[in-house]
Each structure stands twice: as C-alpha cells, then as structure tokens.
C-alpha cells in the first residue's frame, strides 16, 4: 500500500462504494479502481476489505448483485445501487457534509 495513502475513518468505505455505484453498476475491481481514480489516487482501498464491505451492503439491501460478463467477456459479479441504497447514499452524504463542515469550522478558528 502506498505510504501516503490516507487512513479512512470507519464507515466511509460504505459511503464511497455507494457513491461509486450511483453512476452505474460495476464489479468489485472496477469499484476499487474508480475510487482510486476519482480521489486522484489519495484513497487506495485496501482491496481485501472491499469484498466484506460489498457483501455487508448487499445483506442490508442497499446494493444488489448480478452476474454478468465484463468487457473482455469474463464472468464478473456486478453490483448496483437499489432504491434503498440511493436513499441511504443521500442520507449519509448529507451527514458527511454536515460533519466535515462542522469540524472544518472548528479547525478554522485560529
């Protein structure tokens, strides 16, 4: 893992996955790449922890899985956001923004 990769607070992995899937259904590898790319390489998901998170999210009904074929015609498991997941994404995003705003305000006080 890159030494300068940021340590992610608990629970944010879920939020990132949901956001990534908000655009279109993707499989696990693509999700990890996407997060890396979108964050300009600052966030590197510990790839091993991705799958437990995905299965957890599936269990809670926020994403659903379907087997399909990838670009090079291999069998891959695609995850998509469900309606519940979309609502959860909105809720968690709002909560995150509020939190960071509040923390930022405190830190900006010199």
């Amino acid at each position: 893992m890159g030494d300068d990769a940021l340590a992610m607070p608990q629970g944010t992995l879920d939020l990132l996955i949901l956001k990534t899937l908000a655009v279109e259904p993707q499989h696990g590898w693509a999700i990890s790449q996407r997060i890396q790319v979108l964050s300009s390489d600052a966030l590197r998901v510990q790839q091993g922890s991705l799958y437990p998170a995905l299965h957890r999210l599936e269990r809670r009904g926020w994403i659903e899985a379907e087997w399909g074929s990838s670009d090079n015609n291999r069998r891959a498991k695609y995850y998509a956001l469900t309606k519940k997941g979309r609502a959860e994404l909105d809720a968690q995003t709002t909560a995150w923004r509020r939190l960071t705003l509040a923390v930022g305000q405190v830190l900006d006080v010199s």
Binding site: H27, G28, W29, A30, S32, Q33, Q46, Q47, G48, S49, Y51, P52, A53, H55, R56, E58, R59, R60, G61, W67, S70, N72, R74, R75, A76, K77
Partner: protein
C-alpha cells in the same frame, strides 16, 4: 430486514454455491489487477504476484466475507449436530439404549399428560367454549332434594323452563344423558342417549355433518318423537356413514323415530368421557319414558342447564344474577305433591354458576387425582432413567477426556465445547421425543381401554393438541439439560495440564466423576424407594378392596332386568306379569333361587330417607338407606339373618308393614337390646305417605353403595308392600354363561315382546373397582421399572469403581488380602451408598405418600409393614446388583495388574 432474512436464508441453504461465487469473484478481481499490471509491461507471473500483494490476504477476505454474511450460528449448530450424529453412530448400543429408554420414559409421561389433558384441560370442541357457563344447585342443596335424582348435579324440568324465561345473562340450553334401547324386542341393545333442548345445537354453534340439527321449534311440549340426531361416530359405525341414513328410522325404546341429521365429527356431547350416540329433544322424554311424567314432575331431578354468556355479561355478573333469581324460581316451581317436611329446603335452594368450558365429567372427579399421581410417578421413572443415562454419558466423557483437554488447552472456548457435547443430548432427546409421541398415543389408548368396561366404553379426545406437543417439547428440553449438562460441564472442567500428562494413577483422580455418579445413585435409590412404596401401597389397597367381605355371596348371581315396551300396563297386569316371570325363572334348571329387589347392592343406586322411633319425634330420628326386597332375597344373596325372621310371601300389600334392618341400624336404633318387634316411622316421600313399620328381623351388615364405604344403617322393606318394581336376582348352581340361552328363552316364553338385559353381579362389582385395579397395576409396573433401573445404575457404578481400583485391589491381594475380604469391602461400599439412598428415600416417602391417602383403602400411607417390605426388597435387589462386580473384583489377578503398569 426482509432482505437481510432472505440473504441469510439463501446463505444458509446455498452455501456451496455462494462459496463458489466468492471464489469466482475474488479470482476475477486478481485477474483484472494482474491484467492491468501486464498492460504496464509487467510479465505475467510478476503481475499475478503483485496483484496478490495488492489484494492482501485472500483467506482473510473470504473469512471476513463469510462473517459478514451473519449465518455463523446456524452453520455452527448444524455442524455440531452432524458431528454429534457421527459420534453417536459409532456407539450404536449406547445410542439405541438411550433413545429407547428415553422414548419409553417420555412416552409414558406424555401418555399420562394426554389423559389428564383430555379429561381436565381440554375445552369442548364447540365454538368459543370459554363463554360457556353451567347453572346448577350446590350439592348440599341437591342432597336435600326429594324425589329421584338421576345425576349430580341437575334440576327438574320445571326449574329449567322457569330459569330459561326468567334469566337474562345467558343464552341457555339444557341436556340430560340416558341409555336408549335400540332393540325392538328381546335382549336390550343400549346406546348412549342424549336429551337436548331446542337451543342446544344453535347456542353451541354446531353445524350438521349431514341433514339438520334440532332448533327451538323441535322442542315443544307434546312433540312426541319427531326425529333423532345421531353422532358422527354412530353414523360411521352403525350406518356406514352413508347419506341414505337421513330419513332411516331407528327403533328407540320400542318407538320408531326417523333420523333427521348427523352431528359434526368430533362432537361427542358435553360429558367428557362419554360419547353420545342418539340425541332427541327434551320434549321426547314423554315418548321414550312413558308414564314417568319427567316433564311435569317436581321431584324428578334430571336436567343439566348450561348457557353462553350474552355480550356484556361476565361470569361473576351472571352468577350474581342467577343467585338473586333462585328464590323466585323455586317458589314458582314448587308443586303440591312435594313432601311438606322438605318444602322449606326446596324454597331455600340456591343456584350458582360454574365455568362450562370443559364440560361435565364424573370421570374427571374419579380419575383426576390418580392420573396426577401417575403423572408424578412416570416423571420419577423418567428421572431415574435419565440419571442412568447421565452416568453412561459421564463414562463416555471420561474416555474423551484427553481430546477435550487438548482442545481447551489450544484455546477452544468452554461454551463452544459444552454446546458441542450438548448436541449429542439434543439428538438423542430429539429422536426419543419423536418416538415418545408414538409411544404415548399407543399407551394412552391402551390405558383408556383398560379403564373402560364393556358396558361403559370411555370416549376421550386423545389426539395431540398444542398442550401435548408443548409437554413433549418441554420434557425434551428438561431431559436434554439434565442428561447432557452435567457430563458436558464435567468433561470440560478439568485442568488441561493434568489430563494431558497421561493416564491417572492415584485413587485421588476422578476423571469420570465418581463422586457425582455416587450422588446420582443415592438419588436413584431414594426415588426408587418412593415408587416401590407407592406400588406396594396401591397393590395392598386393591387387595384389601377385593378381599373385603361384602356380607353377601357375589359369585353365581345374575341380575336380570325386564320390562315391556310402551306405556306401563295396569298394576294388576304388572303383578301378574312379574309373577309369571318369577315362576318362569325359577323353572329353569340350574337356577337355585330367584328374588327381586329395587336396589342392587354396589350398583351405585341408593335410596335414603329419614326414620324415627315410634313415640319419638322426627327430629330425634336418623337417616337410613333403603332397599325393597322380595321373599327369598336373603337366600339368593347368601345374607345371614341374625335375629327374628325373613320377609315372607305373606307380607303382602294388605298385611302389616314389616321391615328387616341390618346390625348397624339395630345398634343405633336399639343399643344394647334387640330391635325385633319395635316400630318406627318412615318419612313421607313423593310417592307414599308417612308410614309406620315393624321390625321383624335383623340381618348381618352387607355392603350397600360402595365397597369402600363402612357399614351404614340399612332398612329392607317388602317389595310387595309398595308399588315399586325391581330387578331379579337369580342364583345359579351352574356357571352363569351356560344358562343365558335358557333364561332368555324362558323370559320370552312369558311374553314375546319383553325387553331385558342381564349382567353378572360379580362382574358389575369388579367394574366398580376398575380404577383401583388400574392404579395397582400401573404403580406396580412403575415400581418394578424403578427398581430395575436403580439396580442397573448401581451395577454400573460399582463395576466402574472396581475397574478403576484394579491396581489397588491387585496390590491388596498380592499383600495377602483374602478374596472374600475384597468382596465384602466392595459390598460394604455399595451398601453404604444404598443405605444412604434408602434413608433419603424414607424421608421423601414420608413427605410424598400423603398425596395418595384418599385413594387407599384399609391402610395408611405411612404403613410400617409396607415400608419394611419395600426397604427389604430394594436392599435385596441392590445387593444382587452389587454382587456381580464384587465377585469380578475378587477374581482380579494380582500378577496381571502389577504387570500392566
């Protein structure tokens, strides 16, 4: 939530598929990562390596994914059960012994509970049974009622009709049971009959299985015999369940009646234990019992009143309502012919309500206590069987000691190990519980057949309902815990280090829990003593009942009841008929004596009244039982005359009124002297005025109502001096069975239309003791079983102790101990155990046998002889059980044991 559940279920049932999917998913990821590296120019092998590195630990990811699935507990439980099943399969003898003995134990227990459930707990199969209420007179008031009381409790038809119109709390209905004769002529064919009021079926919410049920329009005075409703059982049994049964006529009490409908399946009436066959409206009683005026009579007590609470009424409110109405009801229904001396009692009669959800049952009163006792007994037998199995499981635990200690040392959690060991108990108990249901079905039905006599077959709803299933489940859980917990806790308790060090050497080691096992033996012996004492008590009580002198000769006497169908003929014709029948019976070869009576001893029929000395006041008198007899009664029954003379043919309707009395009466009436020649008055009854009688003879006491009852004062009056009729008692010199044909022919020769029934007096008396016989047999069975189980357990423990002390015994023998010395030391040790068990058992017996007091006859619960026999018996059995292992101890070869070290 739902998606979670669906996910978990899918994860549970398609585990393999999901594992494969996970593999595929992770492999795809690694491939994709490797492909990305390859596109950057890295060679394939290096790319794969980097991909794996980037991923992290694949196994951890898989494990974490699996945990995320959240099905671990179920998976683990399933794994435990499968493993336990394999372990049990490896020792088939133990497993089958365990399952069979538990199946029998739980099954017997459940059978008792099933009977109790059917008799006491189960509500009637009608709609909303908990709204049903019974309205009755308290027994104390019914005891003072005059006239004929056909059943307890009941009211007269007049009271029923008045109550129905006056009260507002209930939708009322009434019923009464009776025996109906379906045979047009000849020997009667009795079936269970039911009189029902018009509202009976509608209020109970029943719908017919075929045809129609009675409604209010069917129950009107003067209805004759409009139709009959038959029970579903009767329909299937006698008429093949064919739809053509509707409209067919039945012959009931020599009248024909068409069948109008069939009651729903499962409804057998409101009397638990008795199933009805044919139902007719109450108004039909005039047709079926002609001349008895059951509807108009103010002294015929035969109707049971029940009702459903109307909306807004509670039982307490209804109770208060009914109580306030009682005086008005009895005032309105008092009739002119009610004996003046009892009018005040009648007017002061009260009414009360009782819950009617479980119906009425005389059977319940008789069997509730015995069944509860039997349930306790079977529970104790099950306990003993469990302790035996626990001992066995402790031994098995000892064998696996090393393996378990190793696992503990390696960090296994104790709870997990204990639950793994419990899984074995779960399987054993699960299999036994399933088998137990089958055992209990068979046993309970067999018991019901045992208790019912052919004259009165018992009908109980024995299908398992939620209560029975719950009972089996609860027994299973308790048994499981008892069985498995102690050995499991014990086996996982040991300090791992010691077990891993190797086989124990000193006598101080206790891997199999010898102390615990000894404690269990003491408990077993104690419980066995209680059961053996119980068995002996009931057996001796039954023997007392059977050998109790009755005061008359019960064998070789036939009871013959005969009557003409239809309305009773004139008194003159009746007398002529009866004389002809008596002569006809006397003429049968093999008949030694014929007489008549209106109260057959021990039949349950009683007549009682008040008498007082001539010259004294009624208040100074006493109550006595009555029986009307013909001349020759004393000879027929073999009763002894101790003073004066017997009733003679000359004591006819015109002659002075005479009476025989028994010794108890004589002692109370004329203490110290002879009552012969003295006179007394008998209180007026609805059918005869106050009359004075002269005592002409004294007879030895004979049982009147029940074998159990001590002697009461009995007065024997002459049948001919009163307009009552009775049955014939026929004493035969040859076995009764040989004569039934000739007697039947003789009766029919007198009048071909006669309906008659005969039964043996001997058998009838035996039937009254059915309950006691059943108790004696069953408690004996359980006592024997308990003793055997305790002996087996004791044998096991002693053998185990001997086995463990092999080395020590070998050394002692080598050092010069005698073989008989070894034997006696083993016996001494086991003797101490048994003595401790018997001591605890005595204390337990003291405390528990009081519960059986009401059922015993002729002995007290703490009878010393019984206790002595039980103690001696169990001690002997225990001795026998210990002798085998003791002798094996003596045969230990000292050289072999020392060499084995």
């Amino acid at each position: 939530m739902l998606s979670d559940l669906r996910y978990r279920l899918r994860a549970l049932f398609r585990r393999d598929a999901i594992e494969r999917e996970l593999d595929d998913e992770l492999r795809f990821h690694l491939e994709a990562q490797a492909a990305m590296e390859e596109r950057a120019g890295v060679p394939r092998d290096e790319a794969l390596r980097r991909a794996r590195l980037a991923f992290g630990r694949v196994d951890a990811a898989k494990e974490a994914s699996r945990d995320g699935r959240g099905i671990s507990i179920l998976e683990i439980a399933g794994r435990d059960l499968r493993y336990a099943a394999r372990t049990l399969a490896r020792s088939p003898i133990f497993t089958s012994v365990a399952i069979v003995s538990l199946a029998l134990g739980i099954g017997a227990n459940t059978a008792m509970f099933q009977l109790l459930n059917a008799l006491v707990l189960r509500p009637l199969p009608v709609s909303r049974p908990y709204e049903l209420v019974e309205v009755r007179m308290p027994d104390a008031d019914l005891d003072k009622a005059r006239g004929a009381i056909y059943r307890y409790p009941s009211v007269t038809n007049g009271v029923w009709e008045d109550l129905r119109t006056r009260q507002q709390a209930l939708d009322t209905f009434a019923w009464a049971d009776d025996d109906f004769n379906l045979a047009p002529v000849g020997e009667v064919h009795l079936v269970s009959g039911l009189f029902v009021s018009g509202d009976f079926f509608p209020v109970l919410g029943l719908t017919p299985a075929a045809g129609r049920l009675f409604g209010p329009a069917d129950d009107r005075r003067g209805c004759g015999l409009p139709g009959a409703v038959i029970s579903h059982d009767f329909w299937q049994r006698e008429l093949g369940g064919s739809p053509a049964a509707i409209g067919r006529t039945l012959n009931v009490n020599a009248r024909t009646v068409p069948i109008v409908g069939v009651a729903p399946a499962g409804f057998t009436g409101l009397q638990v234990g008795r199933s009805f066959d044919v139902a007719v409206p109450i108004c039909a009683v005039d047709a079926l019992r002609p001349g008895e005026r059951m509807l108009e009579s103010g002294t015929a007590w035969w109707v049971t009143v029940m009702g459903r609470l109307r909306p807004g009424w509670t039982r307490d409110r209804a109770d208060a309502h009914v109580r306030t109405l009682a005086p008005a009801i009895f005032k309105a229904t008092l009739q002119a012919d009610y004996p003046a001396v009892s009018v005040q009692d009648y007017l002061g009669s009260r009414l009360e309500t009782l819950s009617g959800a479980t119906g009425r049952s005389g059977l319940r009163e008789e069997y509730q206590t015995p069944l509860s006792l039997l349930l306790a007994m079977t529970a104790l037998v099950l306990l003993i069987a469990c302790t035996n199995l626990t001992n066995l499981m402790l031994a098995r635990g000892a064998v696996r000691q090393r393996e378990l200690s190793l696992r503990l040392a390696l960090g296994a959690s104790r709870i997990r190990l204990v639950s793994q060991l419990l899984a074995e108990s779960v399987i054993i108990v699960g299999a036994s519980a399933a088998a137990a249901l089958a055992v209990s079905q068979l046993t309970s039905r067999a018991l019901v057949r045992l208790i019912g006599s052919s004259r009165q077959p018992i009908a109980l709803a024995l299908e398992p309902d939620w209560r029975v299933l719950g009972f089996v489940a609860a027994s299973g859980i308790v048994t499981c815990l008892l069985l498995g917990l102690a050995p499991a806790l014990r086996a996982t308790r040991r300090h791992p280090g010691e077990a891993l060090r190797g086989a124990p050497r000193g006598a101080s080691e206790d891997p199999g829990g010898l102390v615990l096992r000894r404690g269990l033996i003491v408990a077993q012996v104690a419980i066995s003593l209680v059961l053996v004492v119980g068995a002996l008590l009931f057996a001796r009580s039954f023997r007392n009942l059977v050998t109790e002198p009755l005061g008359f000769e019960r064998q070789g006497v036939l009871v013959v009841a005969a009557e003409l169908p239809g309305p009773p003929p004139s008194p003159a014709a009746m007398t002529a008929l009866r004389q002809a029948l008596t002569a006809g019976l006397r003429a049968v070869p093999g008949v030694a004596a014929v007489s008549q009576t209106n109260v057959v001893p021990l039949s349950g029929n009683t007549t009682n009244n008040r008498i007082w000395r001539d010259g004294a006041t009624r208040a100074a008198g006493m109550d006595a039982f009555f029986s009307r007899i013909s001349a020759g009664y004393l000879d027929t029954l073999g009763m002894r005359l101790v003073a004066g003379r017997d009733i003679a043919e000359t004591d006819g309707p015109e002659a002075p009124k005479v009476a025989l009395v028994n010794e108890t009466f004589a002692r109370a009436f004329a203490p110290g002297g002879s009552p012969v020649g003295r006179q007394f008055w008998i209180e007026a009854t609805p059918s005869s005025p106050q009359t004075r009688y002269e005592i002409v003879g004294v007879v030895k006491d004979a049982k009147y109502r029940r074998v159990r009852e001590a002697a009461s004062p009995v007065v024997y009056l002459a049948l001919a001096q009163h307009k009552s009729y009775g049955v014939w008692l026929v004493r035969t010199t040859v076995p009764v069975r040989a004569l039934t044909e000739t007697i039947r022919a003789a009766l029919l020769r007198v009048d071909g239309r006669l309906g008659f029934v005969f039964r043996s007096l001997d058998t009838s008396i035996d039937d009254t003791l059915i309950r006691d016989r059943a108790m004696a047999m069953l408690s004996a069975l359980f006592g024997v079983l308990a003793a055997i189980l305790a002996a087996v357990g004791l044998h096991g423990v002693v053998a185990y102790a001997v086995e463990r002390r092999r080395r020590e015994i070998g050394i002692r023998l080598a050092l010069g101990a005698t073989r008989s010395g070894i034997v006696s030391s083993v016996l001494r040790e086991s003797g101490l155990l048994v003595a401790a068990g018997l001591a605890v058992g005595l204390a337990l017996t003291w405390v528990t046998t009081g519960a059986a007091k009401a059922l015993l006859f002729g002995l007290e619960p703490n009878d010393a002889t019984t206790l002595g026999i039980a103690l001696a018996g169990l001690a002997a059995v225990a001795l026998a059980a210990s002798v085998l292992p003791a002798r094996r101890a003596a045969r230990v070869d000292p050289m072999a044991t020392l060499r084995d070290d």
